[in-house]
């Protein structure tokens, strides 16, 4: 270890990319994907489908058309939003399994509010709906947060339970107060709300696709979360609390407060995911609105290295994977369960490969240390 010379302490916040390392990591990532796909190929063969056709349609399905690309962005948007919240929570060392429920709350609020104030103009209705949806999700995150802060109730337990409660709340509202009146008139009693007023619909970015401006909002928020976590005092405290609650306490940081805050913010972002699903994609509240994004968002956040900017490509990759897999299912007509299985394998192999990459780069650094002397 060398003593840094007095006035030029090196600072590596300047971006310096280790290309060999990056190449190795990307190579390993591709290798683990390949491995998962190989297993998938075997299963496809067993099911009597042609893996080459399957995988080539998977690829062209995502990258071969405007629709495929936009569709993967549509899926990436809620994943990114949920993932951002997960980043904040995990940084404070709080585990939020409750994104599903928080997402539902955001969606419920967006639906109720925009129907209630359907006469408002877009410029007023859209921002208010988004903010209120965020707050509703945040409230759902606040409950486990405050229980943890005040009563030390474990957040995994509460967030899992709150998911179930949110689901029942949605059932309750969709079978009564929020049910589509047209469904009652027609005697179908479908579990969906009335169509939302067009004033609240997020503008579409590409005609004839579902891609909506929520995607842009999500990316901007990712940058905002990055700034929040690494450039602001509150972000600093959240990270400090997550890394060492004892030292944070000794430094006068109110640990429970920041844990609760991070859960609340995480809930808010999941709530936003619910909002954009409702006002960007569905234009109404439906059962199944969460599409499991609350769980896949956790995976996305971790793929993105729990870094807000990392979650941007991670969510896009994950979205593409889901779109491509569906496309493949349609092309070769295998049971959709294969898609779940394959995604699970990909998650397992990719996450498993990270340690190998870490160990490799450590070895490389150690070897470099030896060479220096």
């Amino acid at each position: 270890m060398s003593v840094a010379s007095a006035d030029t302490l090196p600072r590596s916040r300047r971006l310096s990319i280790d290309w060999v390392n990056a190449a190795f990591r990307i190579g390993l990532l591709l290798l683990s994907l390949l491995f998962a796909f190989l297993i998938g190929a075997v299963v496809l063969l067993l099911l009597g489908a042609n893996p080459l056709v399957a995988y080539s349609t998977m690829f062209t399905g995502v990258f071969g058309s405007v629709y495929g690309v936009t569709q993967s962005l549509v899926k990436a948007t809620p994943l990114l939003l949920v993932g951002l919240g997960i980043c904040i929570a995990f940084r404070a060392s709080v585990i939020n399994i409750g994104a599903e429920g928080q997402l539902i709350l955001g969606a419920l609020m967006a639906t109720w509010f925009s129907l209630q104030f359907r006469t408002w103009p877009s410029w007023l209705l859209i921002p208010t709906t988004i903010i209120l949806g965020f707050l509703a999700g945040a409230a759902w995150g606040f409950i486990p947060g405050i229980l943890k802060a005040r009563l030390e109730v474990n957040e995994i337990l509460t967030t899992v339970m709150m998911n179930a409660i949110a689901l029942q709340l949605m059932n309750l509202l969709l079978s009564g107060p929020l049910i589509d009146p047209a469904g009652i008139t027609a005697g179908t009693y479908l579990a969906q709300s009335e169509r939302l007023p067009e004033a609240v619909w997020l503008p579409r970015l590409v005609p004839q696709t579902l891609l909506h401006s929520g995607a842009i909002i999500a990316v901007l928020l990712a940058i905002a979360v990055y700034i929040f976590l690494w450039r602001t005092t509150i972000g600093y405290r959240i990270r400090a609390v997550g890394l060492n609650p004892d030292a944070s306490r000794y430094a006068g940081i109110k640990v429970p407060f920041y844990q609760a805050l991070s859960l609340t913010l995480a809930g808010g972002f999941a709530g936003l995911a619910g909002v954009v699903e409702v006002i960007g994609v569905q234009h109404r509240l439906l059962e199944g609105i969460t599409s499991g994004y609350g769980f896949s968002g956790i995976v996305t956040a971790l793929f993105g290295g729990l870094h807000p900017l990392g979650v941007i490509p991670a969510s896009w990759l994950f979205g593409s994977l889901l779109v491509g897999a569906d496309k493949m299912q349609r092309a070769v007509q295998v049971p959709s369960a294969l898609v779940d299985m394959l995604s699970g394998l990909i998650v397992l192999f990719v996450i498993g490969s990270q340690w190998i990459a870490n160990r490799w780069s450590k070895r490389r650094m150690a070897a470099a240390a030896g060479a220096k002397r």
């Binding site: 349609t57 062209t60 399905g61 071969g64 058309s65 629709y67 495929g68 569709q71 549509v74 899926k75 689901l167 029942q168 059932n171 969709l174 079978s175 049910i179 047209a182 469904g183 027609a186 005697g187 179908t188 009693y189 479908l190 579990a191 969906q192 169509r195 004839q208 579902l210 994609v281 569905q282 234009h283 109404r284 439906l286 059962e287 199944g288 609105i289 599409s291 499991g292 889901l322 779109v323 569906d326 496309k327 299912q329 349609r330 092309a331 007509q333 049971p335 959709s336 369960a337």
Partner: protein, 314 residues
């Protein structure tokens, strides 16, 4: 997207190409399975794969994925694209505008959005519910009937509402109690709900959704409890205690759509499965010996509904 290569030409030229997108699995013993089997039946009738190409996407409970699938099938040049889920309405409405030459069908709902290439279909589940209710009212000795359902919406609600009306038409003193489990897939809780009804003295059960297989199992365990099914024929799950099932038969409307399309009518109509038009059928389980007078009451209810002399409110 690249259009899939058309299937090898059949005798009658190009085959009819039909695609369906379903919210649950093709093996759910309920909603999705009923449509899938009907489609396969039609395919067989028309002359197999040479005459009709059939593609499906199942477990599409995520609506954006379903929308992607619907659009994909349409852009591949499928003739008829079916969105078999009421949650797909908005997607159909948007996509149908972009593919005016494709026939879209969706349900269960009654709204064609005023588009000339959209069919809507639904099932008057309350009608079969009423008939099942009449039969159950006659058969329940304990005068206690249990109903298990997922969430009080859609045809789970309308079926059960009809069922209650049917029971009441027989005897107002029969107690029908309902439990909702809050989940379409929680079989264990559904089983327990049925067991709770049985423990409270109910000797006759019915219910809706794919998780009622659990309730049927509970009835089977108990031995002397009767079951009434809906959506699909559930006799295979209980040879001697499943009395009757209301069966959704999509065959008729599917064929009508195909015929219409041949004649150049791409949509703009709504279909309702009813007892009257044969879309709903009451399938008596041959393995269960139904007393004649009860069967007569059931048939009378069917006739009454068909003729309009009995009104069932959804």
């Amino acid at each position: 997207a690249q259009p899939a290569a058309p299937a090898a030409g059949g005798a009658a030229g190009k085959p009819l190409r039909v695609a369906v997108v379903m919210p649950s699995a093709t093996t759910d013993m309920a909603f999705s399975q009923s449509m899938f089997e009907a489609l396969k039946g039609v395919q067989k009738e028309l002359g197999g794969e040479k005459a009709m190409e059939l593609k499906y996407s199942e477990n599409m409970f995520k609506v954006p994925d379903a929308a992607a699938a619907l659009r994909d099938y349409a852009s591949q040049g499928f003739d008829i694209v079916i969105g078999h889920g009421s949650q797909y309405g908005s997607s159909i409405q948007e996509i149908a505008k972009d593919f005016p030459k494709t026939t879209f069908a969706w349900g269960t709902d009654v709204n064609t959005f005023g588009l000339p290439n959209v069919y809507a279909y639904t099932a008057a589940a309350e009608e079969g519910g009423y008939v099942n209710g009449v039969l159950a009212g006659k058969l329940s000795k304990a005068k206690k009937i249990g109903v298990t359902g997922p969430v009080e919406v859609g045809d789970a609600k309308t079926y059960i509402d009809g069922f209650v009306q049917g029971v009441e038409s027989v005897d107002k003193n029969i107690k029908v109690s309902k439990t909702w489990t809050g989940s379409f897939s929680d079989v264990a809780l559904m089983t327990e709900a049925a067991k709770t009804h049985i423990a409270s003295g109910a000797d006759t059960l019915t219910g809706s959704s794919q998780s009622v297989v659990g309730s049927i199992g509970a009835a089977k365990d108990k031995g002397n409890v009767l079951w009434f099914g809906t959506q699909a024929d559930q006799a295979s799950l209980g040879q001697n205690f499943v009395v009757a099932s209301q069966v959704y038969d999509w065959n008729g409307i599917l064929k009508e759509m195909i015929e219409n399309r041949k004649k150049g009518k791409l949509g703009g109509e709504k279909f309702v499965l009813q007892l009257k038009n044969g879309g709903l059928k009451i399938s008596y389980n041959p393995g269960y010996k139904l007393p004649d007078d009860v069967k007569k009451a059931g048939d009378a209810a069917i006739e009454g509904i068909k003729s309009g002399s009995i009104k069932v409110n959804p």
